[in-house]
């Protein structure tokens, strides 16, 4: 009994800690055009798209990832939680891909608003924005 109470207390502490952590940084969500047939991707699939390791959705249709510039808080949050790469690691990774001609880095936008505008023009595109910036034009397919 004592053990169960202890476990409950511990779990509540962990839960409140993780809420606090989540509240610290603005959470981001991964989005596609609202008319896209894609409904859900996991973290690995999104990371693969943004690292150029795959270039299509699970149904085989082409995917076009769009980055935010590394000056945006969303960029840091996305790469911390999805690709798990620091700014330098990301640069190293892309310099390997680019200077061997194996891949090209995704195109970039400078803000949530620009991303929303761009996504509305092309259902193949996939991007990430602050959770608070989500509107009706997009569909959230991953909320890490």
């Amino acid at each position: 009994m004592k053990n169960i109470m202890f476990t409950q207390a511990l779990m509540m502490t962990i839960a409140s800690l993780s809420i606090m952590t989540a509240a610290n940084a603005d959470p981001i969500v991964v989005v596609v055009n609202a008319i896209s047939p894609v409904t859900k991707l996991d973290k690995e699939q999104v990371a693969n798209l943004f690292l150029g390791k795959s270039s299509s959705y699970p149904d085989g249709s082409a995917a076009v990832p769009i980055e935010q510039t590394d000056a945006t808080p969303a960029h840091d949050e996305f790469h911390k939680s999805i690709t798990e790469k620091s700014a330098s690691q990301l640069k190293s990774y892309w310099s390997k891909m680019i200077f061997s001609g194996k891949g090209t880095a995704p195109k970039e936008v400078a803000s949530n608003a620009e991303l929303l505008k761009l996504l509305a023009s092309n259902p193949a595109m996939i991007g990430y924005i602050d959770k608070t910036a989500v509107d009706k034009s997009v569909k959230v397919i991953l909320a890490p």
Binding site: S95, K96, G101, V109
Partner: protein, 405 residues
């Protein structure tokens, strides 16, 4: 047109980008030059000058044209010390890439065969943690580019990301000591599997190699032919010449590599074996490297080694000219890279997200084959005879600024 952090956009889907290294290397041994590749770099740190700027410094520019969503063109020129001691930029890559399927690309033109795990970034030091890739291993197969094709096939099975890259081509490249190497029908495959923080890699390359060497052609070959053809000559000279003549000899390089990198710490290594039909340069080489990332600092340590398994002396000559046969064959056998290992400690500092500063200490040890003369120079270049007859220990201090733009 949207901007891209890794390139200057010239419009019309043309982008330009570059990379470079400014490096200084100090060697405490003035009897030999330390070079990044003894096949490709005629001069280095040590004997020519004790502090050298030519070992690692280079500048590369790349232009890409995305002609259609499936077709692109890439050209990359690199200026660095070449085998003729010139810095004229050379096209390292110049190819057309076509996306056959979303996960299958073909590239045709001038490409680099994916012989090593780090073949892609041999010039792009920014992309590597170290000042330079471990020399004992990366000295083994100096085919920097070829005219040919490769396929990049990517596949995902469960948690595993696969890259299958078969390649084929032909090339003729200048080497140091006025040599020219010709690789005919170079064919190989590069297979990479990535699972979370782990990378596994296997590669195999097979080719028909010819080394055109003025000294061999002007002195050694006619010398051995006359020993064999003379009255009371030594027929062994002819059979040895047939097996050692470096023209049209099969050579293969098989290698495996593995890495683990969780973002904070990494451990990586490669191991490779060269097999040739000419007896020369049957080598085993490998390295292991580990490090950690602490904010902008990345300290690392590496151990790297190469072992030449070919015979280094010959005593099978016969008849009155047998001694000459033995002397010449032994000379050829010792005209090759020898045993060497390096212990490395270094530190990378990421100054900005596109500039890294590095400092590295290498302790390089060469050893002889049972004390035999001319077998102690490892993979050093431009050596004195006292260095050739070593075992030698060399301390090397390197600093570099690596950048991409």
């Amino acid at each position: 047109m949207l901007p891209n952090a890794y390139a200057l956009d010239l419009g019309h889907d043309v982008t330009i980008k570059g990379f470079g290294t400014a490096g200084l290397v100090y060697s405490d041994n003035n009897q030999a030059d330390f070079v990044a590749s003894s096949r490709l770099n005629p001069r280095g740190a040590g004997r020519t000058e004790n502090i050298s700027g030519v070992v690692d410094s280079k500048l590369g520019m790349q232009m890409d044209w995305q002609a259609t969503s499936r077709l692109s063109f890439t050209a990359q020129a690199v200026s660095k010390q070449d085998p003729n001691n010139s810095w004229v930029p050379e096209l390292q890559w110049a190819f057309a890439k076509f996306k056959i399927l979303p996960n299958l690309d073909i590239r045709a033109g001038r490409i680099r065969p994916a012989v090593y795990m780090l073949s892609d970034t041999l010039d792009v030091n920014y992309a590597n943690t170290w000042v330079r890739p471990p020399t004992e291993f990366y000295n083994q197969a100096p085919i920097t580019h070829m005219e040919g094709v490769d396929f990049l096939y990517r596949l995902q099975t469960g948690p595993v990301n696969w890259l299958l890259q078969p390649f084929y081509g032909n090339t003729q490249l200048p080497m140091t000591s006025h040599q020219t190497v010709t690789a005919k029908n170079l064919a190989g495959v590069n297979l990479v599997a990535t699972i979370n923080d782990f990378t596994f890699r296997a590669g195999y390359t097979y080719t028909n190699l010819s080394f055109n060497d003025p000294f061999f052609e002007g002195v050694v070959r006619p010398g051995m032919q006359s020993i064999c053809q003379a009255d009371y000559g030594d027929p062994v000279a002819c059979t040895q010449l047939a097996s050692l003549d470096p023209i049209n000899k099969m050579a293969s390089f098989a290698s495996i590599g593995a890495g683990w990198d969780n973002g904070n710490y990494f451990l990586t290594g490669e191991f490779g074996k060269i097999t040739t039909a000419s007896l020369l340069h049957e080598t085993l080489s490998g390295y292991i490297s580990a490090g950690g990332r602490f904010g902008k600092f990345t300290p690392y340590a590496t151990y790297s080694q190469t072992y030449n398994g070919s015979p280094t002396s010959f005593s099978g000559g016969s008849g009155p000219y047998g001694a000459y046969t033995n002397q010449i064959v032994t000379g050829i056998l010792t005209y090759d890279s020898m045993d060497q290992n390096t212990k490395t400690l270094g530190l990378r500092y990421d100054l900005f997200s596109n500039i890294a500063l590095k400092a590295q200490w290498d302790r390089i040890d060469t050893s002889t084959k049972n004390g035999q003369e001319n077998t102690g120079y490892g993979i050093f270049h431009h050596t004195t005879s006292s260095f050739n007859n070593g075992g030698n220990s060399v301390n090397l201090f390197s600093t570099s600024v690596d950048f991409i733009f």
